[in-house]
Symmetry: C2
Subunit: 345 residues, 2 copies
């Protein structure tokens, strides 16, 4: 199994602003041989549906099936070599799990992942296949965070947060960096960029990268109904939690609140939060399938759902959206695809 | 509706070799603003399954959902402006139909497409949506070629063949040109490239482009069982027809024989033909879905199927495959995805 060198040995950062364009560029250079540079793709049908030019960043095509490898590898490669034998532990419903497992495999670090027993079976299976030890917990009875902290304390493993960590945020920010680089190179001024939001790592890091090069671009976060903690927090100007009572198709976005690190960045740079319901998400998954020929998981499709449902105020100019992941069970996908047949027939 | 200028006015070519690397490069420059440059993507799972590095060219992401826009636009843009009002007519099970319809729309040319009544409904609907007049025929009772010729004679419209035309072949060859350009740029010597084969336009044009830059690369064509006319013709060194009696999942590849123009090129440049059955094709469609996060129609998945089924002799080095189209009905896709569940459960 291959192992890779860390680009630097500064494991913990306390100096100055932890999420800067410069640090996102450093992350990009660490990720050069690990994360694929996903293209920006287009669809005539999408453009005419929205009435604007839409550039789609398909992170479902990313290694491990979501953008999460970016933050995970950036974070893990910054663990000093002397500390790597301690191992890492993470909790995740599946995409961060695979990102951490793959990053750990590449760096030769043992990984333990705490996952909900009801996570999509594809995500459980893939995480194991990447060589991680998977510990299941009951989503309704236990706190996965607590379980992960226990494991960290017992074993001495290093906890890798899924979003509230500067190096994770900088890694995810390389998605936004790639978008803005392509747009600048193609002389395509971006009026708006839409990101799915769980804990906000992707949107926060990407906003920092985009705003540096293109300050006039409006950044929006999109969340599923019942899990709109970031939209509400942005409106109130302070962190509030989601009710967390509702179920959601979007297993990847069921975060209870924005992070202590992500929220101030989101508050500074985002126009606001948009909210979509399960029916709109399912329609977006079907649209991605039929029109974009892309497999997108529900949580990965919320930005597309917001556009298709007309949630973005005054869509115009050039809009970019991120399809953040594609890890959906085939049976779930088949049932979403068939739903439309049923409602038509 | 936008119209575009022809790059030249030489509608019919009789001088010298009609399919040359230079003419494929001319086609590429005509297509620069029309066909998207699809990326080469990778999957760790695919690489380890095959035991070689596999670069996937997803033409399912292409405008109209398949590579066919390339040949159609190249051909139509070479119709002299004075002749365009005559209109064009084509016969196709769906992908060439959409390619011709979209190219005609862009150039302001009226288009009539003869399609089998049992073509996938998505393909029928899309062709109409692009503004073409669709004439249905009964696959079992009539010859679509005859029907198209009748329409051409009655109306004076120009017949646009789906593969046996030099300008169509040169347009499809831009797929191979892009593959070899990327490989050369990335210093990735290609040991083999696999193409789906219906009438052979894609493989023939692409082989000419690839062999010029990379003569040692082996080119293979892949066909569905029962429709292996090219594999058999290559073995016999002369054109023989498929039995055409068997059904196939691969509606896009049910061509009875290689073309008079395509066959000599295929015979010169191809190592041979590989054959896959419906079960192998269905597995490839599922693999593309789960592992590549790409929607690929059965006919578009045969090269992947050949690799996964171990049909390629001695796979090693760097192999490129083309996923040639993604126009599959959601209900058909759902049933292919569910098949696996059933066989497991």
């Amino acid at each position: 199994m291959e192992t890779e060198e860390a680009a630097g040995d500064n494991g913990n950062r306390t100096d100055g602003d932890p999420v800067t364009p410069g640090r996102i560029r450093e992350a990009a250079s660490r990720l050069r041989k690990v994360a694929w540079r996903t293209p920006l793709i287009e669809s005539d049908t999408l453009n005419s549906r929205v009435g604007a030019r839409v550039l789609v960043k398909p992170e479902c095509l990313q290694r491990t099936g979501s953008f999460k490898i970016r933050g995970a590898f950036n974070r893990l490669s910054l663990i000093p070599r002397s500390e790597r034998k301690r191992g890492v532990v993470a909790f995740s419903s599946g995409n961060h799990a695979q990102g951490v497992a793959e990053a750990a495999r590449r760096l030769g670090i043992p990984a333990t992942i705490v996952m909900p027993a009801d996570a999509p079976s594809l995500k459980l299976e893939r995480t194991r296949r990447l060589g991680a030890r998977v510990v299941l917990y009951d989503r309704n009875a236990e706190s996965r965070e607590l379980r992960a902290r226990e494991i960290a304390e017992e074993s001495g493993a290093i906890l890798v947060p899924s979003f509230d960590d500067a190096d994770v945020i900088c890694g995810q920010g390389t998605v936004g960096l790639e978008i803005v680089e392509e747009a600048v190179r193609g002389e395509i001024p971006l009026s708006a960029v839409l990101f799915p939001i769980g804990g906000g790592g992707l949107a926060a890091g990407s906003a920092v990268a985009i705003k540096e090069r293109s300050p006039a671009t409006m950044i929006w976060g999109v969340e599923p109904e019942g899990w709109d903690d970031t939209a509400r927090s942005l409106r109130l100007g302070k962190i509030v939690a989601a009710s967390g009572k509702a179920g959601s198709l979007c297993d990847a976005l069921m975060a209870f609140r924005p992070g202590r690190l992500t929220f101030p960045i989101l508050h500074r740079y985002l126009e606001g939060g948009l909210v979509v319901n399960d029916a709109q998400v399912a329609e977006a998954v079907r649209f991605a399938f039929s029109e974009l020929k892309l497999v997108v998981e529900p949580g990965g499709a919320v930005a597309l759902a917001a556009l298709l449902a007309g949630r973005l105020p005054m869509p115009c100019g050039n809009i970019a959206i991120v399809l953040s992941g594609g890890n959906i069970d085939p049976a779930t996908a088949a049932s979403i695809l068939n739903e439309d047949q049923e409602s038509v027939g």
